[in-house]
Symmetry: C2
Subunit: 166 residues, 2 copies
Amino acid sequence: MTNRTIEVEPIAYVVGGRVEPTDDYWGGTRAIIRIDSNRFTSAATAGLEDFSHLEVIFHFHLTDKTDLNLGARRPRDNPDWPEVGIFGHRNMRRLNWLGVSRCRLLKVDGLDLHVEDLDAVDGSPILDIKPWFAEFGPRGDVYQARWTSEMLVDYFAPARDDTAAR
Amino acid sequence: MTNRTIEVEPIAYVVGGRVEPTDDYWGGTRAIIRIDSNRFTSAATAGLEDFSHLEVIFHFHLTDKTDLNLGARRPRDNPDWPEVGIFGHRNMRRLNWLGVSRCRLLKVDGLDLHVEDLDAVDGSPILDIKPWFAEFGPRGDVYQARWTSEMLVDYFAPARDDTAAR
């Protein structure tokens, strides 16, 4: 295996929304994805207004890079849930610190994309923005470990105020 | 904007499946995502067997990095479809050359993940592997530009043979 390093460069940043990367209550969170105006013109977002959702790749830039467990551990250290490996969960303590989220696109304003329910905090570097194509969702029967649905009950519950970190 | 570069390192590679990154007929394509055994043990995949699908971030490593249009263009140069910007499509000619795909997880064999319908070619560097959580799919009303559904009619149609590039 030849593990050459790959360099990526933020093309946008999250502006606004939540300040701390806490676990739950992302519902209704609004933010702007501000695309770098030094590198792009509004042509870069042409056509996006025809989509309800974006898929965003961002960098978990606030994560302590040493807080990493290559073995298996229980999600949120909950003794009721099974041990899962570093590729068995989606939390921010992961290799390469890449997040992938779907968010609602509220408005395209030139290089500012107004979004809702993006679970990336203010200042997060964005590495890619793609429109969501339903055809590229999971195909066929979909199932998942039970602990995930138990864990996510309040994930998109409404925030009790817009910027609170809980 | 402070565009510091971020370094990422492949944690796995695609083994098998399609050889050329052509547009359509990915249906039924099987491949292995082989996680780097120099860095990980089978603990890294613990718990994954409880999920039907993975979400994979990979690098479009075969793309000509100079074949990039920061303006707007018509998908597949089809005159019937509107011009879209570099963030208005999902094709491989994009900044940072990051792909995100969902694929079916057929079997977990230690550090080998056997998958179906992964639209990344043999040898693609994989930067992250996450289990698919339905709760993290798009929420609320979902719609998309009409050209996308017209374009994708044969995207997951069955390949006429396993490795053919069309």
